[in-house]
Amino acid sequence: MPLPDYEKKQYKVTRTMPGAWYLSNYKYKFNLSRMRIMLRGFKEGKILGVKCRGCNHVSFPPKLICGRCLVMPDQWVTLPDTGSVATGSGSPRTDQETGEIVIDPVILVRQDGADTVWIHNLPENYSFHDVYIGMPIKVHWAEELKGLWSDIEYYDPIEDMGDKINKEELAKK
């Protein structure tokens, strides 16, 4: 009788057999309570963080539980749309069209007024060599705000916008 083809004939004392090791489907439950308020804020172009009454730490995106105090933070605070790069790295990928290796910057953003960071993007084709810790950045909102995570498209570097900001400020006065 021919041996089934999965047998490794060169082995004398062990054999392998095919098997599967997976857990069918899984459902992940999460709380809407915090996220719903944050997304409602996005729809109005607002950045909402949540402050813990125990330790005054502000988290953005809002956390469900403060690990320090073991309480559920419940004080909502509006944060400015500016922040800074807490740290960053480059993530290489192959460009589908040119076949070249492109390095996309990946950054951790600390929203001004928040004690936490979250991971986000810089504008497309922004060189990761130009990223540095402490680099000031600003939320780039989507054209139409829908109350979704994607309302914040990416963060714009703002260091070279001094002129523009000055002009805006002067115009207001």
Binding site: M17, G19, S24, K27, N31, L64, I65, R68
Partner: protein, 374 residues
């Protein structure tokens, strides 16, 4: 052994589809246990959890639960077994004198995962799994048939004990609502469909999402925290072989050894035990475990259920939360000792046992001897 005190606990009432996220559920139990003991998070020095990567749908399941479990910046570890095993791990931490107060919790959300699939993955992958006939139901069925045949126990007797479990669950305010069947009868149990003959649908527990937390303290601290702690005076743990062919399913060797060790440590005899909260998947397994723990003569364990001293809370039948069921048994025994079990209180409980398990047909058992009083 120095006595270890149980000074606080909280059980989130299990639900078939709990409207909480995992973190909120754990937070509720852990926060509740601290509040129950009148303690603060900073008082806890070590946190031991019982969770399972497969039940949580992520590897290193404990790393996500740090904040909710009160473990932020603390000594922390996980047991991928029953919550009752986590409690033993926490005890070791305290007895090593490196830690004072230990938080223990067990958690899972069966509404998110195919629990029976995870059980199939427990099976030997080369021989048992490909046959695809072995699973949680068929092993319970085989165990039940073997037990009934050996001791001449009838299906009716098992059904009667099962019905009592459902009725007991109705008196337990922390039982799964769907498990509270005050009017259950043996006849109705016997009318339900076979899952794996002789095991019927109503003989197998319902699974519920939940979390249970427990705070352990060394003797001196325990007496400072509460006037009436419940003491862990003995613990025993034993692992039997996996292979069914080597096991006598009509009894539980691992429970026999584990209980012997626990009784010896506590200096008690089986006849001293007033109430037992044992974790068996089925009423039949409850009975087998109780007999192996020396509470009844072999083949006569169902009398314990009838007397009301075996699983007055309904046992796992009151709602099974994988990873938390053993802790629930401990809490139920603690309540019995404190006289706080309300409707399902057994009178005059001085000494109790509680057990947890893992593996098919309770391959591994862990048992605690618990005593009240100062």
């Amino acid at each position: 052994m120095e006595r270890i005190g149980i000074v606080g606990y909280h059980q989130v009432r299990p639900e078939l589809d709990l409207q909480m996220s995992p973190y909120e559920c754990i937070f509720t139990a852990v926060r509740g246990a601290l509040d129950h003991a009148g303690l603060k998070r900073k008082d806890i020095t070590t946190v031991i959890s019982a969770t399972n990567d497969y039940y949580d749908g992520k590897t290193i399941s404990n790393c996500f639960k740090v904040s909710a479990g009160g473990a932020y910046m603390k000594d922390e570890s996980k047991v991928e077994m029953d919550g009752a095993h986590a409690a033993q791990y926490a005890m070791f931490r305290i007895l090593s004198q490196n830690h004072k107060l230990a938080m223990v919790y067990g958690f899972s959300m069966p509404s998110c995962m195919p629990f029976e699939c995870t059980r199939i993955l427990e099976l030997d992958p080369t021989f048992d799994r490909p046959i695809s006939l072995m699973n949680s139901y068929s092993t319970c069925g085989m165990q039940m048939r073997a037990y009934m045949k050996k001791y001449g126990v009838s299906e009716e007797q098992i059904a009667e004990a099962t019905a009592t479990n459902w009725k007991n669950a109705a008196k337990n305010p922390l039982a799964l609502q769907e498990a509270q069947k005050a009017d259950m009868t043996a006849a109705e149990v016997l009318k339900s469909d076979y899952l794996a003959s002789p095991l019927r649908e109503l003989m197998y527990p319902l699974l519920g999402d939940g979390c249970t937390a427990l705070i352990l303290a060394p003797e001196k601290q325990a007496l400072k925290i509460t006037d009436n702690p419940v003491w862990i005076t003995g613990v025993g743990n034993c692992q039997e072989t996996y292979y069914f062919g080597e096991r006598d399913l009509t009894t539980s060797l691992s429970m026999e050894k584990a209980s012997e060790a626990a009784y010896k440590m506590a200096g008690v005899k089986p006849s001293d035990i007033d109430v037992a909260e044992l974790f068996g998947y089925t009423a039949c397994e409850d009975i087998i475990l109780a007999e192996s723990a020396g509470l009844a003569e072999k083949g006569k364990g169902d009398s314990l259920v009838a007397k009301g001293c075996l699983n007055p809370s309904g046992g796992a039948t009151s709602g099974m939360t994988p990873c938390a069921t053993g802790l629930n048994r401990i809490i139920e025994a603690v309540k019995q000792l404190k006289g706080e079990a309300e409707e399902h209180q057994v009178s005059g409980v001085k000494k109790a046992i509680a057990s947890g398990q893992i593996g098919f047909c309770a391959q591994n058992n862990i048992i605690y001897v618990l005593e009240g009083g100062n």
